[in-house]
Symmetry: D2
Subunit: 379 residues, 4 copies
């Protein structure tokens, strides 16, 4: 449904043509500094056409906090937030509305709900993700302040152009260790931090644009400094929650963590991550990180990293041979120009969902640790 999380929960509402989109964030720790600027930054990063070259402050998608803070500090009560929609009127039906758009949610929404929303796919609208990003920004601020957690997503592939996502490659591991959001945003407009890849990606996108076609890609995300012990066995392993979160983002088709699908071809003797003692902290760490920072569903203190596959946008200006809702063959062409690649915009959404997952796991583990500490010591 429209609620995500257990201890720290976001509940969202809104589609394309209604008055506003928004969310309620429940379970926010009290006593944290928070104002709209903490949230606006990530919301602006998910806007179409954002880049550091363009003016950073356009007056769109401005979030307004409704409740849950006073004098810039969280009260611990639910935080309501909303963003006005610009186009608030459901449109009149046109001939195009006779067709369920191929690989959109028009057909499935109609069968599921037995009613046709003006926007076709109802909540499958990209505007739905605003509530996620707003909620994720609050979670992320807490994680940063409490643990120094850093969450950075970036575009690792567009079409067939891909940076080497290989956990046995020192260059890739180094990228995961050091990459910042600033570096990602500098890589306009594709948000791929490896310049030679970025250039090729731009070309791919331009080619698709020229052909009125579209192309997908991959977003990779790293979470640094997560404490050891997060993730709830057995059904709510951290990677299971991450996979759930990521596959709930529109247009996603795949998720892999650590060595992922490639890891299926590596023998166990190489794939296993042996332990050593970190001389600085005295804590156990692993020499390699094929596990992607999670073992048995629980964080082990190494970098958590994962990748998410996004399909090509379904809306293209090319004519498509398809059928109407009542089964009559015909052809459909989307009007206007459409974005041939949306992966860069998915970057802050992936970061937001990762923040929500981690935050929920943190709260669960704090409850457990807190309860254990109250018990008499065993001898």
């Amino acid at each position: 449904m429209s609620t995500f999380g257990h201890y720290f929960r976001v509940t969202t509402y809104g589609e394309s043509h209604c008055k506003s989109v928004g969310c309620i964030i429940d379970g926010v720790p009290p006593g944290m500094k928070l104002d709209e600027s903490d949230i606006q930054t990530q919301l602006s990063r998910r806007r179409p056409g954002q880049s550091r070259l363009t003016t950073p402050r356009n007056e769109k998608d401005l979030v307004k906090i409704q409740s849950g803070t006073e004098f810039g500090v969280t009260l611990g009560t639910p935080i309501g937030m909303l963003v006005q929609n610009e186009d608030q009127r459901p449109h009149d039906y046109t001939e195009m509305d006779l067709y369920p758009r191929p690989s959109h949610a028009d057909y499935t929404y109609q069968v599921k709900y037995g009613i046709k929303a003006s926007s076709g796919g109802g909540r499958s609208s990209a505007r739905e993700t605003i509530g996620r990003v707003a909620g994720g920004a609050i979670a992320e601020k807490f994680l940063r302040e409490a643990y120094g957690v850093e969450i950075v997503a970036f575009v690792s592939a567009v079409g067939s152009v891909s940076l080497k996502r290989d956990p046995t490659d020192p260059e890739f591991l180094s990228l995961l260790n050091t990459i910042t959001r600033e570096q990602v945003d500098d890589a306009v407009p594709v948000r791929c931090p490896v310049p030679e890849c970025a250039e090729k990606m731009i070309k791919v996108v331009e080619e698709m644009k020229a052909k009125n076609d579209s192309i997908g890609g991959v977003v990779t995300c790293v979470i640094r400094n997560a404490p050891v012990g997060l993730g709830e066995p057995v059904f709510d392993k951290l990677e299971a929650e991450l996979a759930h979160a990521m596959l709930s983002i529109p247009a996603t088709k795949g998720f892999e963590i650590g060595s992922g699908f490639a890891g299926t071809t590596i023998p166990g003797s190489q794939h296993n991550d042996p332990f050593f003692k970190d001389p600085e902290t005295g804590k156990l760490r692993t020499k390699t990180n094929n596990s992607g920072g999670i073992q048995g569903g629980i964080t082990n203190g190494e970098n958590i990293y994962f990748s998410v596959a996004f399909k090509p946008p379904a809306t293209i200006s090319q004519v498509q041979q398809t059928a109407t809702y009542d089964g009559t063959d015909g052809s459909l062409a989307a009007k206007g120009r459409h974005d041939p690649n949306v992966v860069p915009r998915a970057v802050p959404i992936v970061e937001a969902m990762a923040s929500l997952v981690l935050m929920d796991a943190v709260m669960a583990q704090l409850a457990r640790q807190g309860s254990k500490q109250l018990l008499p010591q065993l001898n």
Copy 2:
């Protein structure tokens, strides 16, 4: 935690060395014929060393229904089930217990819970999956009786040997359309239904065995005849629930649905699934199925298919250089012989988790449809 599902829920308990493992299944539809044989079949398929050549009836992992049925019919009340453990005693500690096993859950469990279970990784034991398979068998029986749903998983890759998982390949689509569990089980011992692949897989496994090493693989699963309209936007899209379910299975590293990661390289004009009217049923169908049977998080009536990546088993008999819990370097070698590849045994677990996801989505949609039908018709 240890509960999966909302309307149809499985809650499990048990680790390796306790008295029994088991589960409670809540939300079972009343009035369905059910006895232990309905559940035992899948439980036996997940046993080590099962094949159709060996005797099908070994006296292990026998499930006993505790409640929720009378005279072989479900009452609608919770079904308790349990399977005895053979080795019920926590073992005494040995030198090997000084080492957290690399890429196992020993270390993370110890930090998370602040206590060390005899079995090391506690609930990360493979025996934990018994409860899932038992619950899944009940869900699956309902889905089959109510809708004729068929769920078949098979091994699609072992190490680098892979059948062509290409949604644009007619052979692959045909395999998805026709494959049966009998065919899968005939393909002993690897459960790969393509004979030339199966042979190569067996060789890979034998090589690994000879080297005291291990190797991972991929399980692909198809769900046929699912009704249109399943899946709850926005956070509980069907693919999100499937991803959650699959990544909660031990040793999984990735999930992809429909065109998956490969779909990111296909232009939208080819990737989109155009509609046509099925002459037999009069219903809309899609000509291609890159969507994997789900659009906007909701089933569209086509085959649902997805793949799950399993890493190589972490337990190998080779000596591994690693460190003890307190950080002292040393070497660790697992005693005895270990299974170099567990992917075939994962087949019924993947089927079970798929059944649980689908069943939960069915219940949610039945509630919605039922409520809508009670409303006066709009004119």
Copy 3:
């Protein structure tokens, strides 16, 4: 937390001094006519000072639907709603803020959250109930349209003045059978439909007002025409959910259903409700209704009725001897005049919470029934 319900869920936000209060309603059946007037009626009934003598349309607490409907029909997607707060600024601290108000939530909120909201008790503000009433109005509309369910609450006691709430009294049973909201609202300003009681209640309230004191009371509620079979054993029995819902309303101290506390003194031979066949419908009914329409946690088709105890308002203008947050003895007197009795305003809140409980139970039962109907008939 701030979410109530499972299949049909309301999530609320907001306290006294923030921008707005509001809610998100998830799980609304699609295809139901709905606009703001459906919701405003009950919201206006919960406003202070409402009576049929005063102008019914003051421009306060106007609800605005944000999402989930188009052209006046529900889409099945979440309905966001909000009501602006008039006083949106947290106030500056005064000497009165040094004192936790006796029997308010000031002290407990401060300890729980470790932070002091301007409004003292944070979410314990009466404005928090706006979201409940808004959500309840949607549930209620569905229940009325789908089943002809009627939910009517009324004031049955103020202080020691009480109408006879005796399930063995034909007059009381007749009242439950026939009472309407119009009759309740005609009984201004106490919403007690028995005129002789109402008069005495008014006197009690006036006496309390004169003494700068306050007094509590009881709200009784009847639900007519609920279908048989609602309520989920064992933890979510319908009366358990009703009790939960009612005790979550601010200032409540008790709940009883059917014969309630008085029923503990009636021998079983009289208390049991024998069955008979209703000649009109051919269905089983009970001759008496000490059960209050629920047996074993499940509705039996008879009127559901229950009562809720409300304590006297804690805010009084009398001087109270108490202590400051840091424990210094002192005296506190609330400024201004305060409502000596809030029970009449609780009437629509009780109705709203009853609607939410019933709606959630309806959805659960529709899922079960729907699933059972898909199974082959047993013979």
Copy 4:
């Protein structure tokens, strides 16, 4: 459904005639000493015919822990528990089965599930409460070890014989302060700690027995030493969760906390609980305790006390005029002798449910506190 709690959860299964009844307890803090004797004590207290005069060790209802502990210490993983049923066979139908027993759940279960269990009311069987008591015993042990929490329930009324449950009465308050389970159990067989009441209660029960009739009563419960700050606004106020828990116990008809229904007649000036500084601890306390230890849904550190109304047992040996399932008038008489009053046996069930509620609230608050402590101090 059959799960109670969020962070600390009990899930139960089982009815009268199945193999066993049992439960899974999830979210148990790791590192707590626990063996079967911790649980058996309360299970034995809920057995029929238990008193300190009779032999305490009858070999019935022996609980067996299946998982989640090793060497007598909790692992933090789910604890499975079960108790064998003695009569495991569904019985053959007799003429009596033609009649839905008045004020039992036979009729409602049949309509709800569309199937008739041998035991009539399925999960409405008293044996269902075994799982609750087992789970409650674990929660209670934690609460005692962590905070010194004491939970004591006792019979405060049988029929019209009642001890004075008056929060303004020093004797009642003193009883709440000092009463122990030993005192309660000494008061065999009615578990009423006030001897003159107990005697009268015994007479009432004997009278009812002589008449083949039955009678209800009230159980009052006090929770001492609960920490300040428990309870989750707004829907999960502690009293709301307690009310939910108590009304989910079979045969309950009412719940009141603190001053309860009587509090509705006390003016606010007397009802308010003024604060003072406890000279010993330096903490704020209240001079009176009409609030029952909860303000705004949150514990304030005072004794939490509440009462639960139980109706007379529906099974009586008297002939009752009623109707069969198909509506034919007739008469029904239960065979054998039946317990005319079950309130004493409800005492440990009330304690168990109270423990579960408190434990869940503790975990939620520990998560909040833990998260707040990680934030930088505000200045």
